[in-house]
């Protein structure tokens, strides 16, 4: 009875060079940074491998990638590092996928600096994929390209181009696999980087049907490094990380940025279809504390059943217009006001969906109310479990990430509020933001839904970064 997070990080294919969100001139500095980063990683890895036998298996201490995958990259890196990045640049197309419980997230790098020669050389197959992906915003009935997330003029591995984000429901994986077979993906290159649970589940099919080898990367490992990476580069001096000041006072509640200069230890709450909670002591030393099956998938699943909606966006939109107090039984509904004996405020929810025990109230509740109550129930519960884990692990910084929080300010504010209120200000909820579009940054100001980063991108960025290592390795 334990939740598993949906896949979070995204991997561009394993042959790609080190990606950077920085402008070209900073490339060198960037690589230095990465070198340091790897050095620490190697050390951390050692430390963890040492630690591991002492940890009972049940502790669920995670080392991230499997050792087989990691060990050679550590030992062979120094020589390889000296080689030119360009020399090792793998052939196009560059893409990677994250196969989660609900959604498959596909990232595709579209080179914009293709020379005439290259154009000439580009096999027909490859060209058609590029044209197909970049000229459409929807694929089939369920595939969607998130145009607003597109990263433009990005330099990866010395190539300039745009990074596209495409998603489709995991249930369509079989169709995707058939398409891969029909389009002879196998003729393009033999290894595809993938993460998320589906990387395991669909590996046999991808190998036997499409003839594609998967390079599986651990999602939580990717996630943690991604967060550190994105926070370290920041944006023109702006911090990636923020929190809500005065979350308990709607009037004064405002977003405040903060830097994760000295981030550890932190509790990382990753809300995908389910929820995973990690205690992170350093980049490479973390353990999975617990998880819950009440996550984004539960919110969407229940909303679909209760309101007939079918997408996360739809569900969120309904929730934004509903009132949960019509559905939930509050402390004041039972005690007429605060329950002073135990310091419970009247507005606190005593029983989620508790009012729905009554026929009249069931009839009076709108779909929007139900959606809102579902959102509040799931969010509060995650907050409550996160708070208890933070207390048990003695960590006072809680970072919430995950697809559930995508365009979901409501939940973020609720989490910030719940954490602050029930801990009497002892705990702070942190969120991450990633400017996805440098060009348009100035057009957004303050708190704006459209500006909210899909925290998914953190994973993306990291895996782009991470793939650099693999390019060097091979």
């Amino acid at each position: 009875m334990e939740p598993v997070s949906s896949g979070r990080s995204m991997v561009v294919n394993g042959y790609h060079g080190g990606g950077s969100l920085q402008e070209e001139p900073e490339e060198e500095e960037k690589q230095q940074h990465q070198q340091q980063h790897r050095g620490k990683k190697a050390a951390g890895q050692q430390c963890q491998q040492h630690r591991q036998p002492q940890e009972p298996e049940a502790e669920k201490c995670r080392t991230g990638c499997s050792e087989q995958e990691r060990a050679p990259s550590t030992s062979r890196r120094p020589q390889q590092r000296r080689e030119s990045v360009k020399k090792n640049r793998p052939p196009f197309p560059w893409f990677g996928m994250d196969i989660g419980g609900t959604l498959v997230k596909l990232v595709y790098f579209e080179p914009k600096d293709i020379t005439a020669e290259e154009e000439e050389e580009e096999v027909e197959n490859l060209r058609s994929i590029r044209k197909y992906l970049t000229s459409n915003v929807a694929y089939g009935s369920t595939g969607i390209r998130d145009v607003h997330l597109e990263l433009k003029d990005l330099t990866i591995c010395g190539r300039k181009g745009n990074l596209h984000f495409i998603r489709f429901p995991t249930q369509n994986m079989p169709a995707f696999i058939q398409m891969g077979k029909a389009k002879h993906f196998s003729s393009l290159h033999t290894t595809l980087c993938a993460t998320g649970g589906g990387a395991y589940k669909f590996e046999p099919d991808l190998r036997t049907i499409v003839n594609l080898q998967l390079r599986k990367l651990d999602e939580l490992d990717c996630l943690i490094h991604g967060i550190m990476y994105i926070d370290s580069i920041g944006f023109n001096g702006c911090a990636e990380c923020y929190y809500f000041e005065h979350p308990t006072d709607p009037e004064r509640c405002q977003k405040m940025t903060c830097a994760l200069d000295n981030p550890f230890p932190l509790l990382l709450v990753n809300i995908g279809s389910g929820v995973s909670i990690l205690a992170v002591y350093s980049k490479d030393n973390y353990k999975r504390v617990t998880g819950t099956s009440l996550g984004g998938g539960t919110f969407l699943g229940l909303c679909c059943l209760l309101t007939g909606c079918s997408t996360f966006e739809e569900a969120l939109e309904m929730a934004s217009r509903g009132e949960s107090t019509k559905v939930d039984k509050l402390v004041r509904d039972i005690y007429g006001g605060d329950y002073d004996r135990f310091g419970l405020p009247g507005w606190a929810v005593a029983s989620s969906f508790g009012n729905m025990m009554s026929k009249e109230k069931r009839e009076a509740a709108s779909k929007e109310d139900l959606a809102r109550a579902t959102l509040v129930t799931i969010t509060n519960n995650i907050g409550s479990i996160a708070r208890m884990c933070a207390l048990n692990e003695n960590i006072n910084r809680v970072v919430f990430v995950g697809n559930f929080l995508r365009i979901n300010t409501l939940s973020m504010k609720l989490l910030a509020y719940a954490l602050e209120y029930w801990s009497k200000g002892q705990l702070k909820g942190l969120f991450l933001e990633h400017e996805n579009d440098l060009q348009n940054r100035k057009n957004h100001n303050g708190w704006d839904l459209s500006k909210l980063l899909d925290t998914q991108n953190i994973g993306h960025v990291y895996t782009i970064n991470k793939t650099h290592q693999y390019s060097i390795k091979s």
Partner: protein
Amino acid sequence: MTRGAVGTAMAADCTKAAGGVRTSRSARDGLDKSITLPPDEIFRNLENAKSFAIDIGGSLTKLAYYSTVQHKVAKVRSFDHYGKDTPEPLLETSRVDTIEVPDDEPLYEISVQEEITARLHFVKFENAYIETCLDFIKAHLVNTETKVIKATGGGAHKFKNLIEKKLGLKVDKEDEMTCLIKGCNFVLRNIPHEAFVYVKHADPEFRFQTTHPDIFPYLLVNIGSGVSIVRVESEDQFERIGGSSIGGGTFWGLGALLTKTKRFDELLQLASKGQHTNVDMLVRDIYGGSYESFGLTGDLIASSFGKSATTDKEFTKEDMAKSLLHMISNDIGQLACLYAKLHNLSRVYFGGFFIRGHPVTMHTITYSINYFTKGEVQALFLRHEGYLGAIGTFLKGAEEDNPNQYSWGENYAGSSGLMNSSPDVHPMQRTRSGTFDMLEMDRLERQLVNLPLLQDASSYIPDTVDLTEDAMAREYWLSCFEDALDGVVKRAVASQPQLLDATERAEKFRQKYRHKLQTLRHQPFAYGSLTVRSLLDTREHCLNEFNFPDPYSKVKQRENDVALKHFQKVVRALESLSMEERQFALVKGLLAGNVFDWGAKAVSDVLETNSAFGFEEAKMRLQARPWLVDAYNDWLERLKGPPHKCALFFVDNSGIDIILGVFPFVRELLSKGTEVILASNSGPALNDVTCSELAIVTERIAAMDSVIRTALQEDKLLLVQSGSSSPCLDLSRLDKGLATVVWERKTDLVIIEGMGRAIHTNYYAALRCESLKLAVIKNAWLAERLGGRIFSVVFKYEMPPK
């Protein structure tokens, strides 16, 4: 007083009792027909009720009242010429005299008197019956002193006016949580086997826990509409450390929305038939199998309801209900574990309407707790979980009576026991059978405590065999008790020859006890762990219920009388033996005496038919050495060493057993300088000697025997009541006075005699001093099970571990 006078008194009582029955019947006609049980059997003893309390929940009302129960007790009293106030002139110690007692005059007089004891009544019924029930109570409430009714629960507010109007009592609201905790402390302290763990697919599914002497600290997770998590420190100290809004109300509310099923019980029934894997996204749905590097197996739920967003398939109501149940139970279990861990508590009790004995919810909660704590914390449930609020509210109102200073015992005759709420039973059927549920607690006159000589009170389990777990033994003993029922009924009728209604009452007793046995056949867990002791105790409670306080009183009287006549002869015979011969003869006498047990069918059949069966005949029946368990040589060796400081002797039967078996043995101990505490039952059970009978018998023996007499005078022989009224013995519930004496006298030897006290119970009891456990196995089945034959001898002598 003569026997005739006794008879008259009893006849008068009988008339009165019949009158009482008539009153109840006439009032019954006015009651709602839908109540399946006769109301006078539900609201018992209303006439004397005072201190009412009520706990009105979302669907159930729990009413508590304190009442005095007038019931008959058999009293024994020495005839004046043997009375304590005018002792016989003491005889010279060198001589043993025979006191001439006319053959037709009994040793002591037995009178049946009315005694008033306190009893707590708790009745649980559906809110729908509240008005009818209030009317019935009003009509039968004689006591007018009561002005206030204590109330708690969410519904207390809603029904306040109704209660005040109907009963004319002022409703005084008490805090729900405070009451809950008070009630919880009360049941944990007073009801052995209150808490249990639930093991699905096990037979039985309930594993009862031994009550730890120190019940604090613990965590109580109360799952009502929402969840409250309370840490209880001590009697008055507790703190709500957390909670969750995802609780029973969420299951009900969300379940009603998803399945269009309105009733909570029906939702649970749906859930018990569903498959959550159709609705939930499992680890294997994401990973294709288990996620080994995480240690997450493939069948774990990754995302509750996760499949509904990704498939267009319609789900069945059953599957959704099951998924919802899992989601909520897991969530509560997880939070409970997080709180238990944070506060470092390992005892976690679950209660509230979400649990209420529902196997499905107990199972899912247990599963969740096991998963999240990796078995470090056990989910504990309570047999009387539904009554906690009512008990607590009542205790709040009765504080001036200091109910906590007494010990209380569950009355098996008046309590319904744990219902089988198997989901297979149709909910309507289950509801009907559980419409009225009762719990009755008798106030014990003295406080009960542990025997201070127990090696480890927290791990002491009185009963040797748990019949809930041993199906074969259960089958045997249930049949055995059923077979013996005719004899008990016959004996009960015979014990009250002057009472016309004795046959009718005995018949009622038969029905009630047989019904209890049948219930226990299907629900062996109904009153906690089923044991031979609980079967015996239930029978005693049922006999008392129908005013057969002591069916064996006359038998005991006669046997004591006969045995006394042989006492001197036996003692003289012993004195002529050498030391070693004497020791063996004493032990043999003790064992032969123990054959005289009316509780054993094999023996009672003999005794009923052969009045000539005596001490010598019994000796013949005994197994020859080596015995089944034979530590006699060790015992003999020990006797050659320094005498014991003080021996505590738990005696068994009256008549030959106590007089010709125990007393010579005790006499020997006394003459070696060992002090002796004779612990006998406070109240009657079968033909066991009670403390008041023992007082008279001892007095008579003292009159004949100087050793006993001197010991009494010098306070070296003490008669102390055990606090028990059972043929068995629970060393964790003994009269505080006895415990004190045992402590003060520095007792270094404990002797436990008889099948009930030394075999069915305490066979494995570990003590901090030397102990002798001896009995004759008077049951062929049990003897065979122990590897012997009927009348096999158990003589167990144990030294405390160094």
